[in-house]
């Protein structure tokens, strides 16, 4: 193994299809028009010396090192800013160029420390490389003069010297090593889109400045790491590199955080991760990253990780560490006992959207084949199950229609109930890049999110009341239908015309107009009409949506309304358009694809279908139950009722993530055996009887499928600290239960998936190694996968319009609970926070806060930072207030990353009509000043503390 060296072409790729041919150093080179001479030379294998150029940002032409000579042209132009043209004859090396470059380097080095041996960038420093490349042997100017290098000069403090900024938990900024190439500033602008950095001062005073000469942590910096990646010296360096040293080998793998699915190089020294660097060839992220994937992987070696299996008879007992065999036998005996006593259907399991496709597939196989029932569900139940239902009804398949590259061809983006800047940051950066090029943005969200207003981005914002999505979307449809903006040719060709006519007649009803619905939605009818017109006729229109769409009583209806809108405007079936659910967890798309839902086998095929079920029966050599099983909320109800008594949960903290915590506690407490298979003693483990230690994405092989249906490899870079990858643990648990599953490697599991699932028929590890990734469907018809779906026609045949009548949720505000609570995420934390809370990311978000409008706060005597009691019909908790006009009057907002807040004590049992996806996004609440934790928080804390005790190991004899 060696370190993967990605070629830096110096300037970005040109998308032009016209080609030009020129001669560089006697070699003929053909490149797309618009390519720089620097890039053309690199393509021919000639690396022109450079410092300020790198292919992640546009050419800048400041370092003057990449000078060239062009026959027939005067002077020595910079090759990074000079485009290749037909017939040019270029020389990259001459006596004049050598002299000029050496002079430039001499000046650079005259204001740079010569501590190369002890420098963190030693071995990975472009300045050092360039000094070598130009043959610099001497610096004639000395180091005594004015400089940025030394703290003192001539015994007196040096005003030009600045100390290291170590405020960011993951990287340092050492101004003494800066050559002011601006790569960091441009990366922050062009790649990330945050504009946190600038160059302050002029000439010799020029400095990289976060914000207004603030610390990195105190500035707008979101710690995406793009600047660190761009820096050619040790000025911006990962703290892990400073501590450990340079990596010696690297492996390409896939991030285990959100559904964007960024490809990373895990750069290693032995089995120790030195750093994670985004991989340029990653088709989801194209070389970019966010603070989570880039930096927040330290949880892998966190001291709280549980590495030994543990069991206990009762949840009141302390845990007892046991051998794997004892744990499996204990669990198997319990499950068999429950089935003997309460019946075959009294046990079930939950697959993990954080685990690999192969692991998820095995858990559902164990449940269907080994437990003999279909009581399998996954966290998608509580996030995107309505997407599955809504899109399969309308289009015929349960997934997003595009790849992320598609956004580069979009003219109008509608973001509904999603905040990609926080939850899907790398996609947000790609989207913002497109917006800065001129695409238009519509944001439908109760909050003024980071997407509504960010540098050089201003959205048309429709701030609706939580729970009125369907009314707003139908009003958009009303405008499109009544103002004659329907793409009739598309609808006639691709959709069922009579269903369209029914739908159009419904949408046109006066009660669905923006003016009539404004009283419920709170959206200004004029803005809504403008948004509808913009989306219908503004060019390629794409809809991106998140859990603000799905987590409602009418979640599935809203997904259908989105599909209707895309069809009516002809925005399906080509690059730049489409319906794009932004999936929350790294492999939630995959866990759904792998048959994690109780009613369907891998590939979204209903369990009642004899043909498909028989294929699985033949392959698994077991008879399968043709009846759908319980969904997660149904499991809880059945547990309380006494008919569901055993649960195997892999990599999911249902107690913290599922709504109405008290109800979940009651359900888990009622069960006789809960098996938690996880990295940490999470909240669910407080109610568990068996704990099986899990492994992280760094410790196993497999695949994840991201929100664009892209299947990407996860590659093992270290031995599992707990001893086994999760897929091995599931196999061993199955064996103890008498259900044999035999695989030597996850690739064999994928082969079985491919053999049984038509959309995966062409997927194999060999193909993934060859192509990097594929998007399903990947089969005979599309051997390299399918970036854009429904080209030329819908998967189901004709696109189906379905009427979407607005039905108000029964969760209503009233005198006792006059405010509406909605919930969401923050950039630095992920889901229940089990991983990110165990990293340096806590500096950005150490607690959940309650956002409240100044008007509502004033009425209740609440000041910023005060403790407040937040109460709903389901429960109450306390947290600190954050006063902001991001939320409208009458609406409050919080995150759910911290178990000591337990936002889900507040959320209720209401759920989507079709899928039982919980209504997290609407809860009627009241708030009042408070002195401290609620009774619930106190007793919860006490129970958790008590339940997490681990009995000391017995002394060896």
């Amino acid at each position: 193994m060696s370190l993967i060296q990605e070629i830096d072409f110096g300037t970005p790729r040109s998308k032009s299809e016209a080609m030009v041919t020129l001669t560089i150093d006697g070699q003929s080179v053909t490149v797309p028009e618009g390519t720089s001479i620097m890039r053309a030379a690199m393509k021919a294998g000639t690396q022109i010396p450079k410092l300020c150029a790198t292919d992640m940002v546009d050419a800048f032409g400041s370092c003057r090192l990449c000078l060239i000579e062009i026959e027939g042209r005067a002077g020595t132009p910079a090759s990074c800013t000079t485009p290749a043209m037909n017939g040019l004859v270029v020389h990259t090396q001459s006596e004049r160029l050598k002299k000029l470059r050496k002079g430039v380097m001499e000046l650079y080095i005259s204001d740079h420390p010569l501590d190369c041996l002890t420098c963190a960038a030693n071995g990975d420093c472009e300045l050092q490389d360039m000094a070598g490349a130009v043959g610099l042997r001497d610096v004639r100017y000395g180091y005594e003069g004015e400089n940025h290098v030394f703290a003192k000069s001539g015994g007196a403090p040096n005003a030009a010297w600045m100390p290291k900024d170590e405020s960011n938990p993951y990287f340092t900024y050492d101004p003494s090593k800066c050559i002011v190439c601006s790569r960091c500033v441009r990366a922050c602008e062009e790649v990330q889109g945050t504009f946190a950095l600038t160059i302050s001062g002029r000439g010799f005073d020029s400095r990289v400045s976060p914000g207004m000469s603030e610390s990195f942590l105190g500035s707008e910096c979101v710690s995406c790491g793009a600047c660190v990646q761009a820096c050619p010296t040790a000025t911006l360096t990962e703290k892990s590199v400073i501590e450990i040293g340079q990596p010696e080998h690297s492996v390409v793998t896939t991030c285990a955080y959100c559904g964007v699915g960024c490809a990373f190089k895990a750069e290693m020294r032995g089995e120790e991760v030195v750093r994670m660097v985004p991989y340029k060839d990653g088709k989801a992220n194209r070389g970019h990253s966010c603070v989570k994937g880039r930096f927040a992987w330290g949880y892998t070696t966190h001291k709280e990780r549980i590495l030994k299996p543990m069991i206990r008879e009762r949840i009141e007992d302390p845990w007892r560490e046991v051998s794997w065999d004892e744990a499996f036998n204990f669990a198997a005996a319990k499950f068999k006992g429950i089935q003997a006593k309460y019946g075959r259907d009294a046990v079930g399991g939950i697959t993990s959207s954080r685990c690999t496709n192969e692991e998820t597939y095995l858990v559902q196989k164990l449940i269907r084949g080994g437990f003999g029932n279909n009581n399998v569900d996954t966290c998608a139940r509580v996030c995107h199950s309505p997407t599955g239902y809504g899109l399969s009804q309308t289009f015929g398949t349960s997934a997003g229609t595009q790849d992320f590259d598609s956004v580069e061809d979009t003219d109008v983006v509608m973001v509904i109930g999603a905040n990609p800047a926080s939850a899907h940051p790398v996609f947000a950066s790609r989207l913002k890049k497109r917006l800065r090029q001129g695409a238009k943005l519509i944001v439908v969200d109760p909050r003024r999110t980071e997407m509504v207003e960010s540098p050089h981005v201003k959205a048309l914002h429709l701030p609706l009341m939580p729970g009125t999505n369907v009314a707003v979307l139908t009003a958009l449809a009303h405008v499109i239908v009544t103002e004659g903006l329907v793409d009739e040719a598309f609808v006639r060709e691709r959709c069922d015309w009579s269903e369209f006519e029914d739908w159009a007649a419904f949408a046109a009803l006066p009660q669905n107009s923006p003016e009539a619905t404004a009283i419920m939605t709170g959206v200004n009818p004029k803005d809504l009409r403008e948004a509808a017109r913009l989306f219908a006729i503004g060019g390629n229109g794409a809809i991106y949506y998140g859990l603000g769409v799905t987590e409602h009583s009418q979640g599935s209806t809203t997904v259908i309304a989105i599909a209707n809108l895309a069809m009516a405007t002809g925005n399906i079936g080509r690059p730049g358009v489409g319906v794009n659910p932004l999936r929350g967890q790294n492999n939630v798309q995959g866990s759904c694809d792998m048959g994690s839902f109780p009613h369907e086998l891998p590939g979204y095929r209903h369990i009642a279908g004899d043909t498909v079920r028989e294929q699985f029966e033949a392959m698994w050599n077991v008879k399968l139950n043709p009846e759908p099983g319980l969904r997660i909320p149904n499991m809880f109800d059945a547990a309380i009722e006494g008919t569901f008594m055993g649960l195997y949960v892999q990599g999911e903290d249902i107690l913290q993530s599922d709504p109405n915590t008290k109800h979940v506690v009651a359900a888990l407490s009622a069960m006789e055996c809960v098996i938690v298979h996880d990295l940490f003693l999470n909240e669910t483990a407080n109610y568990a009887h068996v704990f099986l230690p899990g492994s992280t994405f760094l410790e196993k092989d497999g695949t994840f499928t991201n929100a664009e249906r892209r299947i990407q490899r996860v590659r093992k870079v270290m031995t599992p600290l707990n001893g086994y990858a999760d897929w091995e643990v599931t196999i061993m648990l199955g064996k103890a239960l008498g259900f044999d599953m035999k695989y030597n490697h996850p690739s064999e599991i994928m082969d079985e998936i491919a053999a049984l699932t038509p959309t995966f028929a062409g997927v194999s590890y060999a193909k993934l190694d060859e192509l990097g990734s594929v998007q399903w469907p990947c089969n005979e018809k599309a051997p390299e996968g399918t970036p854009v779906m429904h080209i030329g026609g819908f998967v189901r045949g004709k696109g189906k319009f379905i009427i979407t009548e607005y039905v108000a949720t029964d969760e209503r505000t009233g005198p006792r609970y006059p405010l509406l609570l909605t919930t969401g995420r923050i950039l630095s934390q992920y889901n229940v926070g089990a991983q990110t809370r165990r990293t340096g990311n806590v500096v950005w978000h150490a607690e959940d806060r309650l956002e409240i409008h100044p008007h509502d706060a004033e009425q209740r005597g609440v000041r910023d930072g005060d403790w407040v009691r937040l109460a709903s019909r389901a429960g109450e908790t306390t947290l600190r207030a954050l006063i902001t006009d991001r939320v409208a009057p009458g609406v409050v907002y919080t995150t759910f990353h911290h178990p000591d807040t337990q936002a889900n004590v507040i959320t209720t049992d209401f759920s989507d009509w079709a899928t039982n996806c919980p209504e997290y996004k609407v809860t009627a609440v009241q708030i009042s000043p408070s002195n401290g934790p609620s009774e619930w928080q106190k007793s919860y804390e006490e129970q958790a503390r008590h339940s997490r005790r681990i009995a000391p190991a017995e002394a060896a004899e």
Partner: protein, 72 residues
Amino acid sequence: MSSSPEKLVYMANQIGKFFQSQGHDKAVPGIAEHIKKFWDPRMRKQIFAHLDTGGAGLDPNVLEALTTLKKA
């Protein structure tokens, strides 16, 4: 919401409300199919038991759908 059968009646009526705008002739089979596809047998058994005792609280289309589903 308490536990079943009130909860199941509520869930069934929620399904009914979505199909209502499609008219009686599409709604009844739509509701029946949805419950058949997505409810586990014990949930169906419970709602059928409730149906046998008169089906109090069930909206008309839902009542009809469950009646046909039970016979099937």
